[in-house]
């Protein structure tokens, strides 16, 4: 098994030549620099992206639409060649075949051969790895069961719902028992139950010592399961770090919910908190970092109120995401 970062991107750049002349095969790059929209112009999808993913972590890769997430992931998979820069996968250069033996990948909105049923489908993908027919079959049956598609084992994929396609897609990403699993929008199009199943699967992969690198727009899911996240905007990395660190905010504050607050106690308690609101018989007090939480609770108890909850107010990943996207 590989030690050291499982995935590194080092100053990765990618430019696309577009327009009628720019998109021509073989000669397009000569016209991309014209800068005339529709005829030949260049778009920089990635502008010096660098990051590293450590073994065994769940890494969330975030960014608004058009940020370059899928471009970066496709470069990792060898589907797109970088214009400049380099990277490694499991210690091997990008595109290396050995690394791809230990890698699993699910693209965004996957499409598969619709005439195949799950068992044939997984046998097809398993056949691309050095596995015997017996190993493939055993693994395929286990994965079909794990993703909850045993009831559809003989049904062709063209008759699958979107959620079922996503699940069989995850199964093909795991057919070779990979060390690194790369998922591009794995929860896309899934209902809450489907999303929970995918989250559980990702957790399970981590407990088995695998590394998961995934991109998603569903920030609650990313916040819930990721160890670290990176936020990319317009092809550049804006923030990276452990989720807990990113969400920490010295000015966030605490929310204290009280019940049985007497009329007499209201002025005293309001004086100790920054804001207060009454809701269905309960009082919610917001205390900033400068307010004394201990002092407030002691006072509330002395005045006969009962404490329902004390919740530290953290910034959400969505707030950070919107902030970074707006800054760019």
């Amino acid at each position: 098994m590989h030690t050291g970062p499982v995935l590194t991107l080092d100053d990765l750049h990618k430019s696309f030549d577009l327009g009628f002349l720019g998109s021509m095969p073989f000669i397009g790059s000569a016209f991309g620099g014209l800068g005339i929209k529709g005829i030949g112009h260049r778009v920089d999808a990635l502008r010096g992206l660098s990051l590293a993913v450590e073994p065994g972590e769940i890494f969330g890769f975030l960014g608004p639409n058009g940020a370059g997430k899928t471009t970066a992931i496709k470069m990792l998979m060898g589907l797109i060649r970088p214009t400049r820069g380099s990277g490694t996968l499991l210690g091997r250069p990008l595109g290396d075949r050995d690394a791809r033996n230990r890698l699993g990948y699910l693209p965004e909105q996957p499409y598969f051969y619709e005439h195949l049923a799950p068992l044939e489908f997984l046998d097809f993908y398993g056949g691309l790895f050095p596995m015997t027919a017996g190993e493939r079959r055993k693994r395929a049956l286990a994965l079909i069961d794990r993703v909850g598609l045993t009831h559809a084992i003989n049904r062709p994929i063209r008759k699958f719902s979107k959620g079922m396609v996503q699940r069989i897609g995850i199964a093909q990403a795991l057919i070779n028992d990979p060390e690194l699993v790369v998922l591009d929008e794995p929860m896309s199009g899934l209902d809450p139950l489907g999303r929970k199943e995918v989250r559980d699967l990702i957790y399970e992969l981590r407990t088995k010592g695998k590394t998961v690198f995934f991109s998603s727009h569903i920030l609650q899911d990313v916040e819930q399961i990721s160890d670290r996240v990176a936020i990319i905007v317009k092809g550049k990395l804006h923030r990276i770090g452990p989720v807990a660190e990113l969400l920490e905010s010295p000015t966030a504050g605490v929310e204290v919910v009280l019940r049985a607050v007497s009329e007499a106690a209201l002025p005293s308690l309001s004086g100790l908190a920054t804001a207060a609101v009454s809701l269905q018989g309960e009082w919610r007090y917001h205390l900033t970092a400068t307010d004394s939480v201990d002092g407030f609770i002691r006072c509330a108890l002395e005045l006969g109120a009962s404490v329902v909850s004390v919740i530290p107010h953290r910034r959400s990943l969505e707030e950070i995401f919107v902030e970074e996207a707006s800054r760019a």
């Binding site: 496709k74 998979m77 791809r100 693209p107 598969f112 097809f124 056949g127 691309l128």
Partner: protein, 261 residues
Amino acid sequence: MRQIYIIALNTFREGVRNRVFASLIAFAVCLLFLTLAVSQASLHEEVRLVKDMGLFLCSTFSSLICIFIGVNLVYKEVERKTIYTILPKPIYRWQFLLGKYFGIGVTMAVQVAIMGLVLFGQFLALDAEFGLLMVKAIWLIYVEVMVVGAVALFFSSFSTPFLSGLLTLGVFVVGRFGDRIATMRLSEDTNAATQADPFVAFLKAAAAAAPDLSQFNVTAYVVYESSLPFSYVYHATAAGFAYAGVVLVLASMAFARRDFT
């Protein structure tokens, strides 16, 4: 090799389950049966007519069907994004292309075999001998189809089906009539200036680059029951697959540089 086999097998399975492919074969088979009917109008030349028309239909339709399948092969994978889950697996791009080529090869072998069987049936109906000459002719039709398939795959590796189809059809036509284009003159005028016509020059250059498909057309030998030595069949087969090999190498080079956005 395993990866090539897996891709080839899947390509074949996809091909034979394709309704358009089945319809085209059915149509070609119907036309073959038509030759039997038409031959009844000939003056005791039924066998000759069946040989001539039968081989022509077998060759032309097989090539056209192969062009139709070949120009869609890679394009469909990219368009439907099925390629996005295959290329990240431990498979080289050239293995993927070669697998596709062998997949067409097996599919077209089935198609040519079906048409060959229909022809055999027609010979039985006419109480005529099928003979080794017919087998050689059908084999050379298959080799021609594989050359055309390689050209279709080459264009398909970087172009749309419509453009690939046009270009492959162009190569097919030029290849079929290459021997006549080589000696082509627009007029009887022997003036050197007239002979240097750019259109003729272009056609001759195209004919030089295109495969010589006329070498696979041995209908005359079959119709007139002339001797066709095995050495001719070997050389034509080797030349055909050598050309296909070169084209596949070029296709791999084009495919290797491609970005799948």
